[in-house]
Symmetry: C2
Subunit: 229 residues, 2 copies
Amino acid sequence: MSAPASTATTRVVTTASAAEADRPDRRAARRQATRDEIVAAAWELVREKGLAGLSLRDLAARVGLKAPSLYSYFDSKHAIYDAMFMEGYLAFEAGWERLAAEATEDPAALEGIDLLRTMATRYVEFCTDDPARFQLLFQRTIPDFEPSPESYAVAERVLAAAAERFGAIGITDPGSVDLWTALLSGLASQQIANDPGGDRWSRRIDEAVEMFAAARAPHLITTITRSQP
Amino acid sequence: MSAPASTATTRVVTTASAAEADRPDRRAARRQATRDEIVAAAWELVREKGLAGLSLRDLAARVGLKAPSLYSYFDSKHAIYDAMFMEGYLAFEAGWERLAAEATEDPAALEGIDLLRTMATRYVEFCTDDPARFQLLFQRTIPDFEPSPESYAVAERVLAAAAERFGAIGITDPGSVDLWTALLSGLASQQIANDPGGDRWSRRIDEAVEMFAAARAPHLITTITRSQP
DNA sequence: GGCATACTCCGAACAGCGTTCGGAAGGGCG
DNA sequence: CGCCCTTCCGAACGCTGTTCGGAGTATGCC
């Protein structure tokens, strides 16, 4: 949660010395801390009142400010949504990298269809864990919101990583990837919209994965028959 | 834009007789006509400015009124959304019944997997034709909106009809129906959210249907091999 | 025909929203 | 100390959905 590189010093020049380099960061760090606090409070409010129920006066009150003060930290309400968007995708990316690390550590447990199953399960969990986040990241539901290029770059990065992992297990055509994303996002959105808190759709994940694998990656499901000679 | 059947002529009086029964309908008919006009204008506005971009002052202006006057016809803005919700599902039901009629008329062309294919194609077309309608009917995106029991009954009726048709072609377990709805709504929502106006996901419909049929209704796809002795 | 009634319609206003502006405080630097 | 830049906020603007009270009008009854 440290400050991005670009926001750092701004100072430059002066006469140098090592300790002097991070002194101007004092204010910058404080500023970044407040920004983070605002975004965290925004997540809280959004979980309580829904994604569209976020009010700047409420949000400001929760961090001990008045509404106009937020404009010292963000250009607009959409800029707050944008910061949340990026944070959400960073969390998604972190989960993804955790999964990749597990796969490296114990390749046997996460190869072939097991990897697909785990990917699907984690994805749907990630979505249902926080419906407001799902709405912000994967549905485009806020009237005129579009993520900034920097935020969108994070989103594309993680999607590219997923596609690459797909290629590594032998699923290369883009049609299959699109079919996969449609299938998973469909499960998640149906679950959230029509059975919130339940598991009417999420309990179909395994069947969905098997259906997908049978049609799109048959080479992944031969292991079962091989284990019964 | 003709009046519904129940509203009748409005004509004249004379001396009692049968015409007297629909005389009190005069105002009711006019009222219903205005309601319909308001809902039609709301659809227009929603297509132009997005589902959440609907403003009562704009809407009133479009039908030659001021905002408070709308409250003679609807209890609230949500009541207008509710009327649109019902109208949307009635349109969906009409499309569905058209399909059912075609299937009855020409059973050969719409049996087995062809029926699935047509259902899927029509559904995704229905969604992408009007993204605002898709959002209102199938995503729950308006902050505190919930359809009234009467409106929701329409929604359930058409879903039940679809499930029944599923049973008729031999797909009986509810898990398959849920998987089907997840798959189709996933295709539609990805198409609308990530490639509006394009066909990146909608062109995968046939593959999706074949994938689903292979896993969930294998009895529907044997005809191909049978035709090559 | 005349009167009472009900329905439509709207101007004004209220509370809430995101946002802007101007000025009042506060901490860091010469 | 004085300067400056940042932070903070009260007030206000234009927008939103909604309520209220009072006009104007078409209807139903006698």
